[in-house]
Symmetry: C2
Subunit: 260 residues, 2 copies
Amino acid sequence: MGNKMDRRKLVMLLGGLAGTGAAATLVARADQVAQPAPTSSLQKLPWPYKPIDPDAAAQRAFEGYYKSECMYGAFEAIVGPVAEQLGSPYKDFPFLMFKYGGGGVKGWATLCGALNGAAAAIQLLSPDPDPLVNALFEWYEHEPLPDVHPKGAKFVEIRSVAGSPLCHQSIANWTKVSHKHAYCPERSERCGALTASVARQVVILLNSQSAGKPVAFALPKQTQSCQSCHEKGGAVENIRTKMDCGGCHAPLMGKHPGIS
Amino acid sequence: MGNKMDRRKLVMLLGGLAGTGAAATLVARADQVAQPAPTSSLQKLPWPYKPIDPDAAAQRAFEGYYKSECMYGAFEAIVGPVAEQLGSPYKDFPFLMFKYGGGGVKGWATLCGALNGAAAAIQLLSPDPDPLVNALFEWYEHEPLPDVHPKGAKFVEIRSVAGSPLCHQSIANWTKVSHKHAYCPERSERCGALTASVARQVVILLNSQSAGKPVAFALPKQTQSCQSCHEKGGAVENIRTKMDCGGCHAPLMGKHPGIS
C-alpha cells in the first residue's frame, strides 16, 4: 500500500520535471533499483515449501551443528535450502537466533535442541504442523538414533533410544549404552549425527505431507493407560502431556494401578 | 553495497536528464519512497535494543498468550515492541512461528513455552545472552509464580513453584497447590499470567544488562552436590544439565550418597 502511494508521488514528481514518458522509464528503473522487499511475506505462514532432499538436509544439519549447535543445525538445514530457493526476504531470516536451543537451551538439558529447531521449522513450512511434530517427537522417543552416518563423522555411531524428547534423558541413555562420558568427543559427534537424523526425518515428513500422504501418530499403550486417569477427562487430570511416561517414571510403572 | 551502487546509477540517470541539483532532490525523495529494506540487518545479532517497560511487556504477553499460546506470547511481548521501534525489516519477523512452543511444544509438556520464547528473544536482543537465560531459568524454577495479575484476568491467581523449567512439572505442581484440574480455565489463565511474569522478568534482565549491571546466577546447593559426581569431570559424568535435580528426582535425594 505504502509503496503504491509513494510510487505515484514519484511519478508525479518526475512527470512535473521531465514529462510522462521519461518519468515512466525512470520509475521502472527505480523499481528495479530499489526492489522494495516484500517483507510482509515473511510473516505469512506457512512459507511456500517445495520438497527438498532429506539426505542433503541431514549432511547440512551435521555441519550446522558444529557451527552453532543442535537447534540451529536442525532448523537451518530444513529452512535454509527453502529460504535460498525463495530468495529475499526469506534468506535474510536470523537463523543464528536458534543457537539458544543448544544442549536443551544453553546446556539446561530441557527439550532436545534438534527437536526444538525442527518444530520451529515445521511450524514455518507446514500448512498443518501438528501431526508432523507429533509424529517426529514420538519417532525420536522410540527409534534407535542416530540412524545416519554423516560425511566427516570420525567415530562409529552408537545408537540409543532416548525414551523422551528431553536432552537430559537422550544423553543419559546414550551414556548408558555407550559407556562413555557426557562431555567426550564421541557424545558431541553423536548429537551432531542425531541433529542430522532429526533434520532428515522432518524433511521426509514435510515431503510426505506435501505429496498428500497421511502422517501416522499414536501414543504408546502404556502412556495411553497413564493418561486415562491423569490426562484430560481422567479421574485425576493433573497433567497435560504427550511424552512417554515410562521415559522418566519407569520405577512407577510396575506398582501403579492398571500398569502391568 | 547493492543499494549504494544502484543509488549512484539513479543519480547518474537523473543527472543526465535534469541536472545535478534536481537529481539530488529526487534521489533523496526516492530514498524515502523506496526505503530499500536492509534485510540483512535482520541477520545481525543482537538486534539493537533500547530498554522497554517491563509491565507493558507483561500485559502484552498475557494478551499474546490468548492469541497464539505461551511461547508466542512471551517472545512477541519482548521482541514486538523492539521491532516496532526499529521498523522494517524487523517488524516483519514471522512472530507466529512461535505458536509451535505452546504447551511445551504442541502439548508435549517439554520446555515451558514461555521460557522457550523468552530464550529466543534473549538470544535475539542480548549481546551476552547466556547469563540472562541462566538467571531466568533458575528464577522460574524457584519463584512462586505467576507474580503478576494482568488486566483482564478473571481469577485470583494461585502461585506455585515449578521446581523445573519443564511445562509438565510446572503444571503438575500448580494442580497440586491449586487442587484444580489441568484443563480448567483457571489453569489456562495461570499459564497466561505466567507468560506475563516471564516476559516481565526478561525485560528486567535485558534492561539491567543494558545498564551495565551484573546478572547473578547460581545453581542450588543440592544440584551442585549431584553435579559433583554426575556432571563434567565428575566420577560418573553421565549428564549435561543445569536443571534442579530435586525437581524430578526428589525420591532419590534422601538415599543418594552425599545428599542429606
